[in-house]
Subunit: 174 residues, 2 copies
DNA sequence: CCATTTTATATTGATATCAATCTTTTTAGT
DNA sequence: ACTAAAAAGATTGATATCAATATAAAATGG
């Protein structure tokens, strides 16, 4: 009755998964790049995520939260949480939308703009160094491929949930 | 004295950063892929990260924590934290290394192996579907490029900190 | 115009992530 | 062997991430 290892996965399969899993590779690369930019931006007082978020708020018109979350491909609740420390520091203001009192409009404060402006040259240097270290052409190609992947699942969790449960189901026809 | 907007970053710069930042693209893609696999693996009771971690423990010999953290490109403290829920569920065992009493050896339990075995077909389907949706060739190329990026910064935070502060500084010559 | 549905966001709870720091054990230098 | 340095992990504290759920306001259908 030696059937106890009927659920054993061969080591070769483990190696296959490790080597081929795009999700794992993406998480690894994302962590590595996050650390690279976090380290570089630390003197400016920003993390990579805060830099991206604040940069996305540098628009002529203060955007509502939804579109920003979609742009960053993050959950709306993640955005709510990410805004908290930036509000506390007085770098981002969250105001009620007079046109739609459910909504909020996000904007950089003067100080926020100043912080972002100080961070920008660091980003430029870091990104240039990164580009240089990559095999020629990799950078643009990688960017393109990453965009394809992000866009493939271009639904944010809440959006998908609503679609699945609601009358908006006609959109599913795609 | 209208100098208040001397720190304004032009909107065109914002668009440039948004479109070119590899770090942002990587975070977006990582989030999108994480959601894709989290959703698929949910019936198996695993997240994408737990799947990758447990799969990396499916080896002939139980590995110590350091190498596993390096493999996953994550901080050692992140690994410690990630193991907690898996230990609670009885899927992973963390035992003292008899050869080095500082260290721990990580292993899947029988139940852990069973859970992983049930998750494997889901991973296969999901990954196959993903591959299919990507333009042909993208998958392998993207995997390769991601690996290059992860490997570039192939130091885990603690490793780097120790190197920077300690006598191991001779390694810096690379 | 009122009831229902949809939309925009917030809250809670769980896990993930890393910096800073600490403890324990091993290794190296003398 | 003894001491100092290094290595392996653990703990704490802050932020990030998402699912599930809740709230409030706007849009929609009769």
């Amino acid at each position: 009755m030696v059937m106890s290892n009927s659920v054993e996965i061969p080591f070769s399969t483990t190696l296959l998964v490790r080597d081929t899993c795009l999700c794992l590779h993406a998480q690894r690369a994302a962590r590595a790049l996050a650390r690279l930019f976090d380290d570089a931006l630390r003197p400016a007082g920003l993390t990579n995520g805060q830099f991206s978020l604040m940069m996305s708020l540098n628009r002529p018109e203060p955007p509502p939260m939804g579109p920003v979350a979609t742009l960053l491909a993050m959950d709306q609740t993640t955005l709510t949480a990410a805004l908290k420390p930036l509000q506390r520091k007085g770098w981002v203001s969250v105001m009620e939308n007079p046109k739609d009192r459910r909504g909020r409009l996000l904007a950089l404060t003067g100080e926020g703009k100043a912080v972002l402006a100080r961070a920008l040259p660091i980003w430029k240097e870091t990104h240039a160094a990164l580009d240089q270290k990559l095999p020629d052409g990799s950078s643009a190609r990688l960017r393109q491929d990453l965009q394809t992947v992000s866009g493939m699942t271009d639904e944010t969790p809440k959006t998908a949930a609503r679609r699945a449960s609601g009358a908006t189901a006609r959109v599913m026809a795609e």
